[in-house]
């Protein structure tokens, strides 16, 4: 049986902030959901099923919060799923929602991912002392910094590459009204001058802690036709891959799961030369150095050459491969939603609705998320044209 073509017809997100003290958890989600429904020209009654994604329940202290959220999300009487695949969850959630349509089971699916980090403290939730173990790594930055050092050693990248990524993403964020950080005047020099937190990662090279949500409406070919939406983001391919957190001789800089997922994704989307055929990409970069690392992992460049694209300015909005036009995770990080925001921003680009951070003529875009210890990958390609396959 052939897969049903599916497309994003509605995108919504919150104004991401350190603390959204004006809303409850449900209110935060509804801000994104209401925008997505409005964008799609639909109401809750048009929705067949709801898929919710978020990172660990300990962040908000609500066990399986989708149960409590069912009513606010208009899910009562409908199927509701809750996905949790660590940091990649926003992406995985969108993929599950897409598969509900592609399978022919549903016509219109609402999916929403969120995190309200201000309810607790992510560092606490991720570093609860476990008996018998001695915690020394100090949060996600401490976890990833040694691998960034390995990347620098392997690739011979100059030390300012991370700062270039951070400065670019913060400048891009100024063009995105929803972004959490609007730090005007961020430059390579100011990033390099910021405090070294987890050497080799500086303060300005890390993502913020945000409250936020993102929602998408995904529709079948028939439902797209029946909608008033004329510029849907067609889903050309979706992939997920997982590998262990730690294993003997596992490559933690260039994980095989990411390589395998992207190779399968390009094949599925009929792409033979990603850097030529992809117009722009929203990639999960919570620490600046992950831009060049993922450029290589995704096959946009040869091994050890990812940083050269960054250094040459090719990942700027005007470059050959614009990356994180929205400002990316470095400018807004509601963890559970961060992956879906990448998928959503990729959709906005091919819909031509990215506003000030629109890439001219973008017709094919990548949305990417990763999670855990660089071990869970979720990605999709969306296009302005209906997929041929």
């Amino acid at each position: 049986m052939a897969k049903i073509p599916a497309a994003v017809i509605g995108v919504g997100q919150t104004h991401h902030r350190a603390k959204r003290e004006d809303v409850s958890i449900a209110g935060l989600l509804r801000e994104a959901v209401d925008r997505a429904l409005l964008d799609a020209g639909l109401t809750f009654d048009d929705i067949d099923a709801v898929v919710v994604g978020k990172a660990p329940d300990l962040f908000e202290g609500v066990m399986m919060p989708e149960l409590y959220l069912a009513d606010a999300l208009g899910a009562a009487g409908k199927p509701l799923l809750r996905v949790h695949t660590a940091g990649s969850v926003g992406g995985s959630t969108a993929i599950v929602a897409a598969s509900l349509v592609q399978s022919g089971v549903h016509e219109r699916v609402l999916t929403v991912a969120f995190e309200k980090q201000s309810e607790s403290n992510a560092m606490w939730a991720l570093s609860i002392p476990v008996p018998f173990i001695m915690p020394v790594h100090a949060g996600a930055g401490g976890y990833f910094a040694p691998h960034v050092r390995s990347y620098i050693r392997r690739s011979g990248a100059p030390g300012h590459i991370g700062a270039m990524v951070a400065a670019k993403d913060r400048q891009n964020a100024l063009k995105n009204p929803y972004a959490h950080l609007h730090n005007e005047g961020t430059t390579v020099e100011s990033v390099l001058a910021s405090t070294m937190l987890w050497d080799p990662i500086r303060y300005d090279e890390t993502c913020p802690s945000s409250d936020g949500a993102c929602a998408l409406v995904i529709a079948s070919e028939a439902a797209v036709a029946a909608s008033g939406v004329t510029n849907p983001a067609w889903i050309h391919g979706t992939q997920m891959r997982s590998e262990p957190t730690t294993a003997a001789e596992r490559d933690q800089v260039n994980p095989q799961a990411g390589r395998d997922a992207s190779a399968a994704l390009w094949k599925q989307a009929g792409i033979t030369n990603p850097i030529e055929e992809i117009d722009c990409a929203e990639i999960y970069v919570p620490f600046s150095w992950f831009e060049p690392m993922w450029i290589e992992n995704l096959g946009f460049s040869g091994l050890g050459d990812g940083w050269k694209l960054t250094e040459a300015g090719e990942t700027e909005i005007s470059g050959k491969l614009p990356i994180n036009m929205s400002g990316g995770v470095l400018s807004s990080n509601p963890i559970g939603a961060s992956g879906m925001l990448r998928f959503a921003e990729a959709s906005l680009q091919v819909m031509g609705e990215a506003g000030e951070h629109q890439v001219d003529g973008a017709r094919k875009a990548l949305g990417h998320a990763y999670g855990g210890g660089s071990q869970f990958f979720a990605m999709w390609v969306v296009g302005a044209d209906k997929p041929a396959n």
């Binding site: 329940d57 399986m64 149960l67 590998e243």
Partner: protein
Amino acid sequence: MRDVAVVGFAQRQMKELDGSPTCLEILVPILADLYEQTGWTKSDIGFWCSGSSDYLAGRSFSFVSAVDAIGTLPPVMESHVEMDAAWAMYEAWIKIQTGEVDSALVYGFGKSSAGILRRILALQLDPYTAQPLWPDTVSLAGIQAREGLEKGLWDEAAMASVVARSMSDAASNEWAIRRGATSVDQVLAQPLYADPLRRWDCAPVSDGAAGIVIAAGDKALQARQRPAWISGFEHRIEPIALNARSLVTSTSTAAAGAAAGVDGVDLAELHAPFSHQELILRSALGLADDVRINPSGGALTANPMFSAGLNRIGEAAKAIWAGESDKALAHATSGPVLQQNMVVTMAASIKEDS
């Protein structure tokens, strides 16, 4: 839709797992059982999906180490739901329906005994107006049971007969935690524990894990001569608030059952962690009196969180494999007092109109 069948099922349950909350210790033999049943290896599996809870384990990302049971280098296509693994199976079934893969292995696990389960589950409630009171699972079920009792929808004897039948049937289930031939009078002779409930009306706190293999078409027939073909797979949710829904009926179960199609079902495995909930479910599904209910003993005899729903599907499939049923129904529940419900129907033969 593609024809997809359940072809493998393995489970482990115990009152208390004296081991790590990662449950690797029981997942590894479960996967080994599944490979043996199907004759397959890891490379035959196209998609993996699991169900578990961080709050049961008491730490974030508790599912992450469980993938070690698979052995994930080279990497696998894998996902996870923070739900009973019955919903992981739904995600896997959807994946097969997209045509991307032909087979999937799903598993669920949880060590409920690590904390005070009935208290931890209060964290599922509305975090503003309900959870701060810590209403425990047993109390919520007690409120539900009393409402039905006082409205004359069921009586103590009906509840006791569910308990007696479950424990008696569980006598032959090696994985049951509470089992043995039991009469209605013996049940009624037990003291009240949480008035109006007796301890035996409430599922025992259980640790455990379970796994299921599903596959499409010929791939399923490779693994098993008489697979349990999925003929209906539906789930629905209701509002969480106890005052926003009827507690003595289950509209979500009724809707899922109607959509899945319950006609011709001769056996039903119902995920009812409290005795009166089985009565609600039977009524919602409109099951005929001659339908065999929970021959495994059901959740009242072992209720490992995050795999108990999957177990119902596995037990129902087993009955089809063994020729004890031609069409079986399995039900899974999640959330406080039957908030979310799933109905799967399986048949020995592929329906002709598919």
